[in-house]
């Protein structure tokens, strides 16, 4: 109990600073398109739209614990929905967004049902084969999709009253959608659905015993997640103005998952970091080595995972944790006194243990999204058993 109240107290004290941070971030986001060159604004726009897709994937993988290697397919479905509507029916851009969202939600629902039966790896690989199957399917449906030549559609155009350039306008529209999407993701996680999801991820059978309707929530997680990917795909069509089957190969799906893990699973801003990684690092790799950008890119992925095994989002926490451990006695003394009675939980940690219990000071339940995240420094360090070779000395 002490811990919880203490944590709440400090939270209250820090709230103004938090508000300030949010304000600054908002100002930066709004000011960016006036500061940067159009090309860079375009890059930022791409980061934002990938972030939407990653946030969706995060709902499923990070919070739901189901791995999907097929989200590129939902992304493609959203993109094609928008492109076909624009191309065939000339509906205007805004109309495509709800259609893509609803379409992908339903598609996700359809996939969520069989996904219930599949666990972990098997789900990942079935979704991967779906992603492999999609491009030839799109090519086959030539009358609608334009076949392998793809479809070229109008990009988003700024209305006259805005006085903005095309990039700036696109950026703001995408920013707005992204902010709504990220907030929605956050609220989803704080809702009953989100808590249920977390409970399911951490202990499926226990959650079921507690009365969580497992199948419903898992299916919904898939649907929500697909919807986010579809929205991102729709934005993609707005920004790029061109879709083709080969734009959405299974590599896209793998890239999305890699981006999410690099950014930080189960973290609310991990998707942003992951999207930035996916967007910028390939160019950086090329700047380092023109002969073989892949060599550099591959090494960078590996290096990031070495330095931040729980993703970039977990990195600050890890660094702080490492620093505080380097300053041992002072903090230890502080730690000891008030919480001695909350520590013992660790003793009953089952071996090959799961994440949350190893972190004794988390006021579990109060802030599920951040407290139960595996993007947590303690996870990797706790490692009592089940992570065999780490302590081995030869």
């Amino acid at each position: 109990m002490n811990t919880i109240t203490a944590a709440l107290g400090t939270d209250r004290a820090r709230r103004p600073r938090a508000a300030l941070t949010v304000l600054l971030a908002a100002a930066a986001a709004v000011g960016a398109p006036f500061y940067f060159a159009p090309f860079q604004v375009f890059q930022l726009t791409m980061v934002l739209l990938y972030a939407v897709a990653l946030a969706g994937l995060n709902l499923l993988v990070g919070f739901g614990g189901q791995i999907s290697l097929g989200h590129g397919a939902f992304f493609a479905a959203g993109a094609y929905t928008a492109a076909v509507m624009l191309d065939r029916y000339d509906t205007g851009h805004l109309a495509t967004l709800p259609a893509a969202a609803a379409g992908c939600f339903l598609l996700g629902l359809g996939f969520g049902v069989p996904a219930l039966r599949l666990r972990g790896l098997y789900l990942a690989l079935v979704t991967l084969s779906f992603a492999v199957f999609l491009p030839p399917l799109l090519k086959r449906l030539e009358p609608v999709t334009g076949g392998s030549m793809g479809l070229t559609v109008d990009k988003l155009q700024p209305p006259a009253w805005s006085g903005l350039a095309e990039d700036q306008w696109t950026y703001f529209v995408v920013l707005a959608v992204t902010v709504v999407a990220l907030l929605l993701a956050r609220n989803l996680l704080r809702s009953r659905v989100g808590r249920a999801l977390l409970a399911v991820r951490d202990n499926e059978s226990a959650a079921e015993v507690m009365g969580v309707r497992l199948s419903l929530h898992k299916t919904l997680a898939f649907a929500w997640s697909a919807m986010f990917a579809g929205v991102a795909g729709c934005l993609y069509t707005w920004v790029i103005g061109f879709v083709s089957p080969d734009s959405f190969s299974f590599v896209l799906s793998i890239t999305l998952l890699a981006g999410l893990v690099v950014g930080g699973l189960a973290s609310l801003y991990g998707p942003l970091l992951g999207a930035a990684f996916v967007m910028y690092v390939p160019s950086v790799s090329q700047d380092v080595s023109e002969a073989a950008p892949g060599v550099v890119f591959g090494l960078l992925i590996i290096t990031v995972m070495f330095v931040a095994p729980t993703g970039l989002a977990g990195l600050p926490g890890r660094v702080l944790g490492a620093v505080s451990r380097r300053l041992p006695r002072t903090t230890a003394a502080l730690d000891r006194t008030p919480e001695a009675d909350s520590v013992p939980e660790t003793d009953s940690v089952p071996e090959a243990d799961s994440v949350p219990e190893a972190e004794p000071k988390s006021p579990a339940g109060s802030r599920p999204a951040t407290t139960l995240t595996p993007a947590d420094p303690a996870v990797v360090d706790a490692e009592p058993v089940g992570a065999p070779p780490r302590t081995e000395k030869e």
Binding site: P114, L128, I254, V261, G294, I301, P389, R390
Partner: protein, 296 residues
């Protein structure tokens, strides 16, 4: 040619490509049994091994000498990969390790391109040209050879695991690494051994398929996808499942591609998908997988 021989001919072709998938699926299954992860870089490591063999042969070494050298190099290379690339993230979440293998995939692919360029290389065919004619059905020696070698590899793995003490130790590590450590097993070394073995099996796979697919850095990319399908169908912890799954996927896609006009060659890749989905809905652990195996 009658309809029956025609069908049989297609089945043979399917078995030929199925054996190719199965050979890589074996390596995937091996790694998965030990570490519970899916190694995306498995195909690329196999490709790299094949280049080693190619380089040796190109520099004048006879094929049958180059082969064991390559296998030894691959074994050592696999162990090194475990030690250098995988060990540092051993305690991290499983997905982190998987993404590291994705990074390794990109790295190895680009590295091979850098060293050997993307030009197609011819690789010596260890099996004689020509083939058998069985009642009008043509069976190439190379197809037979691939199937034969895959069967042998599967058999050797089975013997190793079920009938040797090192195999017992390896199974124990795969099953419960913590308890294995408490029993005095150097789990780290056994994991290295597992990666080395998988890399060796992968090298066999690469050397087998290179004469048919032609060697270039993207040679194993397509095979990997089908090997995934094979392992998923057969069950990700069963070597027998990997082989049966591979053959099944190969035959199924060849037959539907050839006989079901609506599906055609472009959509035949969807056939294994549907079959896998159907099988997994009934048996979530794959055809030969064990339901009990559940990793934390």
């Amino acid at each position: 040619m009658s309809a029956v021989t025609d069908l049989l001919q297609q089945v043979v072709e399917g078995l030929g490509s199925g054996a190719v998938y199965a050979s890589l699926a074996l390596a995937l299954v091996l790694i998965h049994r030990f570490t519970g992860i899916v190694n995306f870089a498995q195909g690329e490591l196999a490709m790299l091994s094949t280049y080693v063999a190619w380089q040796l042969v190109a520099s004048g070494m006879p094929f049958w000498l180059a082969l064991p050298v390559t296998l030894a190099v691959s074994f050592a290379g696999g162990m090194l990969v475990e030690r250098i690339v995988i060990r540092p993230v051993q305690g991290a979440p499983e997905l982190t390790v998987v993404i590291v293998t994705v990074g390794l995939f990109i790295f190895v692919n680009a590295l091979a391109g850098l060293i050997w360029s993307f030009t197609v290389k011819d690789f010596p065919q260890p099996f004689p040209d020509g083939g058998l004619d069985l009642a009008g059905v043509r069976v190439d020696w190379s197809t037979l050879g691939i199937i034969g070698v895959v069967a042998v590899v599967m058999g050797v793995l089975y013997l190793l695991f079920q009938h040797t003490s090192i195999g017992l130790v390896m199974r124990a590590v795969a099953c419960n690494p913590a308890s294995a450590r408490l029993s005095g097993i150097w789990v780290g070394r056994v994991l290295m051994l597992g990666w080395g073995l998988a890399a060796t099996v992968g090298a066999v796979s690469g050397v087998l398929v290179a004469p048919v697919l032609f060697l270039e850095p993207n040679m194993m990319g397509g095979v990997l996808i089908y090997a995934f399908a094979a392992a998923t169908l057969g069950g990700f912890d069963s070597p027998v499942g990997a082989v049966v799954g591979g053959l099944f996927v190969g035959v199924a896609e060849t037959l539907t591609g050839a006989y079901v006009g609506v599906i055609g060659a472009d959509l035949k890749v969807g056939v294994p998908l549907v079959i896998i989905l159907a099988v997994l809905l009934v048996r979530p652990q794959g055809l030969f997988g064990r339901a009990a195996v559940e990793r934390a």
